[in-house]
Amino acid sequence: MEKILENKIDALKEIINIGTGHAATALSEFIHKRVTVKVPDISVALISKMPELMGGADLRIRGFYFTLTGDFTGGIFLYFPEETAEGLANTILADMDEKGEEMKKSALMELSNITTNSYINAIANMIDSKIYISVPFYSADMLGAIIDFMLIEISQNADYALLMETFIEIEGEKISGKFIFMPDIISFNKLFERLGIK
């Protein structure tokens, strides 16, 4: 039993590692800087502990949520702490004279689109599936407030959530972001099936 669980966790790590790796490459090409990826972190925790584990309920973030449909359903959430988002927007808009709030927002939307699509497409290719990604839903607010609908969604089926997070770091800057990949239960089972883990 434990062995199976271990295999499953290793498989998930492998998958999100590949996803984030591709996302980092896409990000690197977009902002012309070196981007590194940390080893993914997978933990199971009570839903009520999630805001704390993700950085604190009152942390100011900019978050991008995408719904996933096709062979695989669920969602994926990319977020940056406020200062990081600000720094990223300025990097992208370095050549522009005008850096208004709307400009920053659309630059970050584009960045989230590019990186998240790379992430999901890499996973889809690996498990030979078709996954369609929605446009990003954007919110700039407190972390707890932005993520609670996701926790609500999970909590309809469980008291615990699987937190699969990956950090991306940009060289030379104090910039980091996180991807949270959240397939629903049916998709999890499909995922393990395709990977040959029962």
Binding site: P51, D141, M142, G144, A145, I147, I152, Q156
Partner: protein
């Protein structure tokens, strides 16, 4: 029973509630679609704050955490307050939260659970004959709550619109 000790500031996480007697402030941080329900008996200054995630335990597939739901959490909190000495007939309610944090171009029930939470909370309060004296609900921003049991004031902080007291 979630009775709290004699702390000045008590914090309530997601899917939880705390009830106690003044002097105390009960706080909860970062509510989006969730709803915060502040109840107080102004005479005994016994109050509580709940942070619920879902409308009803009856509509749920799993029922192991009753504090997640508006109907069960509110009723349990009232019971605790009465045990502490509150008179149910005097209890009044203030609620905040139930936002939809994302601009939705197409209807998405999962992302718009806030609205359903607000109506579930109001329904339970009505069934329990507890008057709703003020609310700051809906819209598209997150809220943090601080409920002062001495004054009965509920402070609603938002990242974009400052502090509102009600």
């Amino acid at each position: 029973m979630s009775e709290c000790a004699e702390f000045k500031i008590i914090s309530v996480g997601i899917a939880d509630y705390k009830a106690c007697k003044s002097p105390a402030a009960i706080e909860s941080t970062g509510l989006g679609s969730c709803v915060g329900i502040a109840l107080i008996d102004p005479v005994t200054k016994i109050g509580g704050l709940a942070h619920i995630m879902l409308p009803s335990i009856e509509e749920s597939r799993i029922t192991t955490s009753p504090l997640k739901f508006a109907d069960t959490a509110i009723r349990m909190m009232i019971e605790d307050m009465v045990k502490l000495g509150a008179n149910k007939k005097r209890i009044v309610a203030k609620i905040a939260g139930g936002a939809c944090m994302f601009a939705l171009t197409v209807p998405n029930p999962a992302m718009n659970v806030g609205e359903r939470n607000i109506s579930a909370v109001k329904k339970v309060l009505q069934e329990e004959n507890i008057p709703l004296v003020s609310e700051d609900t809906g819209k598209n921003f997150g809220r943090s709550l601080s409920f002062n049991l001495d004054s009965g004031k509920l402070k609603v902080k938002s990242a974009h619109y400052g502090i509102k007291e009600m």
